[in-house]
Homo-oligomer: 251 residues x 2
């Protein structure tokens, strides 16, 4: 019996954003592995075992998934958004590299998903329409000095920016420091976008000039997008559109 | 009669990566607007008019779509990948900002898609599993000096990188310059990934150490991913896995 391991992206929350490819993998799985709230999105059915686990146990979860696939099960590891962006795919490959040699021969596939920054961008226009970077603001797995350095260099490059995991209860001070660095370095009124529960019925989009942004505007359910120096706001009767033009003129 | 304009992402090529949300919009459209090869992906049906147009006419195409929506049609502008990343969404909003004031009141929605860099990343592992940037290497709409500056700063930030539009027949020399800058600046053997026709039946993935990369490895159907200094390769019997670890230790 040959098992398989699929690492699949469920998108940001709206089931209409789950690709048919991922739905097909979920429909053929014997075992679903993932962080509790993501596994909760999967419907129970006969023949399917759900294995929800807590946050911050990504390597243990990966090993468990690999062990089951090696035993012949059809395992799907679920991530929110895209599994390759600050999510489970890197954790699974870390476990593969450090684990049993025969794990390398398993049938392992990554199926992409709609990542939160692109859903948030779509919800307010096209703020990521020109060159940009994506930074995970959690310092659980890297030193804050590296995050700070990246923020400064990204501002110097005039990238638009997308920030994942801006703030959690256990790290209330990080986003305050990041905002301070960005406000000092950018020194203009480019828009910053706080997209909470993006694509869900209770989605909120809050667009403010960078100098007016405060740390409490983000929480762990928020993705934050920052425009470049050229990002534009189109005012209108409803919520404004925000977009970054495709072109930069010669200076 | 109230029209609408949807700017939708078709994903990188495999129809199983088109979200149900986008399929629904395509199913309710009266008019489809887009670059010829993307409109060719849409099946004809009674009541649907297809409006394919050539490359480099993005603003004209956007105005046409906005005019039809203003006339009460249900228009879908299609992009490959995600419409908000180096694609049609920014062009449409540029046309809105510069166009007739009543265009601002139109029902305009952006529906995200699977962007090529995430499909390419999934196809070889998780090279974008840590902080990264996305740069459009075409200098049609921006000066080369800005691209070069961004490449250098991105290398200094130790971002993984995704490059869109690396090379075309009309711009054969740009990617050669970009590679030279990256080889000089990174000065190590991190992997660079050439993913051609990603997600299609004729997909090819070519992974080489950065110093061995040559300009002819990319064409206009290729997306290029460059690892960070920490990106790992897992050798095995089949194609290797490439991933960027989630963590960076304190130094």
């Amino acid at each position: 019996m040959t098992g398989s391991l699929v690492i699949a992206g469920l998108g940001p929350g709206n089931d209409a954003m789950i690709t048919p490819q991922v739905q097909h993998a979920l429909g053929h799985a014997t075992d679903i592995v993932g962080y509790i709230p993501y596994v909760e999105r999967i419907s129970a059915r006969p023949g399917l075992t759900l294995h929800p686990s807590d946050n911050r146990v990504e390597i243990d979860r990966s090993r468990h998934a690999l062990e089951m696939a090696a035993q012949g099960k059809h395992v799907v590891v679920v991530s929110s958004g895209d599994p390759g962006m600050f999510a489970m795919a890197a954790a699974v490959f870390e476990a593969v590299e450090q684990g049993a040699p025969h794990w390398r021969d398993l049938d392992i596939q990554v199926l992409p998903g709609i990542t939160a920054m692109l859903a948030a961008s779509a919800a307010c226009g096209a703020p990521l329409g020109h060159d940009f970077c994506a930074i995970n603001l959690s310092d659980n797995l890297k030193p804050w000095a590296l995050i700070d350095k990246r923020l400064r260099l990204a501002a110097e490059a005039d990238f638009a920016m997308a920030f994942y995991n801006p703030r959690s209860k256990s790290r209330p001070e990080g986003f305050e420091k990041a905002l301070k660095t960005l406000q000092d370095t950018c020194a203009d009124s480019r828009p910053i976008i706080f997209a909470r529960n993006v694509s869900r019925p209770d989605q909120t989009i809050n667009i403010v000039p960078l100098p007016k942004a405060t740390p409490d505007m983000a929480d762990m359910r928020t993705i934050v997008l920052l425009g470049s120096s050229r990002t534009r706001i189109i005012e209108r009767a409803g919520a404004p559109f925000v977009y970054t033009p495709r072109s930069v003129e010669d200076e």
